[in-house]
């Protein structure tokens, strides 16, 4: 609860930057050191860090943030089609467009709070999903999803005389955004996004957002118009989602409506709560845990399970395989659901709370080791 200092902030940033940039090294022992997965960590990390600015600080639980993720992806693909394969205009336009959508949706949804706010955001996101899926087919290419084509205009590229043979890939001034360059591009944006979130967390603005979460009525009688505060937080977090959406399109220039579905909105809620909402690092831990285990569990099948349980007697191995099979592959979401239930019931503060509790154990043991004067000795 003590006040943050600039020195602390600097230390956090140095550590964070080092950790993100060296991720391919320290994630190697658990087999998570390939660019595709690393990129996923970074992209969903940005999504969760942004979501946490709204949910973690103000307590307003949006169930519709996938809409902004989708808007970001569509905008980015359109930018690739119409302007340039360079990722910078795509990223900038996506963030801007997501901001506009967030302003409109936030403006209406924030007329209510609590569960009604959540339902309004969910309704808006589902509307966006349905619009993208069918009504706005000319813009979104409906079911198939928006893709690149050979005859795309790419005005800026043409202007600079850049031409492509076949379907082009996304670039940063000629550097192709695949493999490690792709990851490092996302990583740099994650670091910048985290830095902004750190500044917000430790600013007067951030403190006021926390105060709104703690007691909004009191804020009004303390002289604050809370609506613009909430709307600003909502728009900022929507822009983070737009950035994440754009980066998904950078990795794979394709935007589908399913990216806007409520399950995608639910996923970011899950990741944030699992790691620890309202903490700086928590949402990133949540992303890491979920995306890592998703990668492992969803790839498992009966054969692998049989190999895993080969050390057991045959009949016991069969039972073990039958019992665990529903939790892997397509059933990965069942595992995720269980994990989420356990966290919410036993560790409502997420992984971060768990770490705090573990850190407090030595202190407790020390207290126990020093015998306190018992009341009996004080009495006559």
């Amino acid at each position: 609860m003590s006040m943050p200092t600039l020195k602390n902030d600097l230390a956090i940033m140095v550590l964070f930057t080092a950790a993100v940039l060296s991720a391919p090294l320290w994630l190697a022992p658990i087999g998570a050191d390939y660019p595709d997965l690393l990129q996923k960590f970074a992209i969903y990390g940005i999504f969760a860090v942004g979501f946490n600015i709204l949910f973690g600080l103000t307590g307003y639980l949006s169930f519709g943030h996938a809409a902004f993720l989708g808007v970001g992806s569509y905008t980015a693909v359109w930018s690739f089609k119409l302007l340039s394969m360079n990722v910078l205009p795509a990223v900038a336009l996506s963030v801007l467009m997501a901001g506009v959508f967030a302003y409109l949706i936030g403006f209406i949804s924030l007329r209510r709070s609590g569960i009604y706010f959540s339902i309004l955001t969910l309704a808006f996101a589902q509307m966006c999903y349905n619009l993208a899926y069918s009504v706005l087919t000319p813009i979104t290419n409906g079911e198939t999803g928006l893709q690149l084509a050979n005859d795309d205009a790419r005005v800026i590229d043409t202007l600079f005389g850049i031409s492509y043979d076949g379907l082009p890939s996304t670039t940063l001034f000629g550097l192709e955004m695949t493999g490690y360059p792709g990851f490092y591009f996302c990583a740099v944006l994650l670091i910048l996004g985290f830095f902004l979130s750190l500044r917000i967390f430790h600013s007067p603005f951030g403190m006021k957002l926390r105060a709104i979460k703690s007691n909004q009525t009191r804020m009004v009688y303390t002289g604050y118009n809370t609506k613009p505060y909430l709307l600003t937080a909502f728009v900022i977090s929507g822009m983070y989602a737009g950035l994440a959406g754009a980066l998904l399109a950078v990795t794979d220039p394709l935007a589908g409506a399913e990216r806007m579905q409520w399950t995608a909105s639910g996923e970011v809620v899950l990741m944030t709560i699992l790691g620890g909402a309202g903490t700086l690092i928590g949402p990133l831990l949540g992303v890491g845990i979920i995306k890592y285990f998703e990668n492992i569990f969803s790839a498992m099948n009966v054969q692998q399970l049989t190999e895993m349980f080969a050390f057991l007697p045959d009949w016991l191995g069969k039972i073990a395989v039958t019992l665990t099979n529903p939790f892997v592959g397509e059933g990965w979401h069942l595992t995720l659901g269980l994990l989420f239930m356990l966290i919410v019931i036993f560790l409502p503060g997420g992984v971060m709370e768990g770490m705090r509790r573990i850190a407090a154990i030595p202190r407790k043991l020390k207290q126990r080791a020093v015998p306190k004067p018992t009341p009996a000795t004080e009495e006559k």
Binding site: T5, L6, P204, R210, A211, Y221, T222, N225
Partner: protein, 253 residues
């Protein structure tokens, strides 16, 4: 008579069939401590709610410093200079004591909205020192970084008082500021309120504790069933038979 800072003019409020406030006329002089006493359900808290914009009266107006404040938003009334300390402590339970006091200090400085997201709290030395000062004045200086939600009720009340005082309001409305406090803390609060009286802050106090009322108030209004049945100096109120009957059950004060 000095300047009138708060002018409540024929304010009327009914809830369903209950006439909570009936044609209330009340003028508060600047720089004075005015106590409102009366039995439970007399309409005291309703009256304060009308003054801070929590409730809108059915009829009548409230003027603060010559300006009509009825119909204004609560945060606008706050910035006009009216601050209320609630009966059940309204604090920010998830923040530290220091942050609880810094938030209203920022409101005073930054207005109803300011997007100062790039500034670090650690560079806000002036606000922080002022907040520490106010907390020290109220005897909460040792708990600056404690979680406000885990403090005792009496400490929460003092904290809320600190949150009000840091805004330097022209008019401070106190709803039973000493309820739930020990005799020791009550005396300390009385002493503190007397001390800040010299700074020219006007106060309206709702209080059941007659010890507090008679040691602080310059003038007293007695409210019963939504009406003001008596008004005057503490001595006049003490001797008023109507008051003794309606409120004090005929007992000698």
């Amino acid at each position: 008579m000095g300047d009138i800072i708060l002018d409540i003019d024929k304010v009327d409020k009914t809830f369903g069939g209950l006439h909570a406030l009936a044609d209330i006329d009340l003028k508060i002089e600047e720089g004075k401590i005015h106590a409102i006493i009366g039995p439970n359900g007399a309409g005291k808290s309703t009256l304060l709610n009308v003054c801070i914009g929590r409730l809108e009266p059915d009829r009548g107006t409230v003027r603060f410093n010559g300006e009509i404040i009825t119909g204004k938003k609560p945060y606008e009334i706050n910035h006009a200079g009216v601050v209320r300390v609630f009966q059940t402590p309204e604090i920010f339970p998830d923040l530290s004591l220091l942050q609880n006091v810094m938030v209203p200090a920022f409101a005073k400085r930054d207005g109803t909205f300011k997007f100062n997201f790039w500034k670090s709290l650690s560079s806000e030395k002036a606000i922080r020192e002022e907040a520490e000062q106010v907390l020290n004045d109220l005897g909460l200086g040792e708990h600056l970084n404690h979680h406000a939600g885990s403090m005792s009720r009496g400490d929460k009340r003092r904290l809320e008082l600190a949150m009000g005082l840091i805004q330097h309001p022209r008019l401070l409305l106190l709803d039973e500021p000493t309820a739930g406090m020990s005799r020791h803390d009550t005396n300390r609060t009385i002493e503190l309120l007397t001390r800040i009286k010299e700074r020219g802050m006007t106060k309206i106090i709702i209080e059941h504790d007659m010890h507090v009322v008679f040691s602080l108030a310059d003038t007293i209004s007695v409210l019963a069933q939504g009406r003001i049945i008596a008004q005057g100096t503490p001595d006049e109120i003490r001797g008023n038979p109507k008051v003794q009957e309606a409120y004090l059950g005929g007992a000698e004060l």
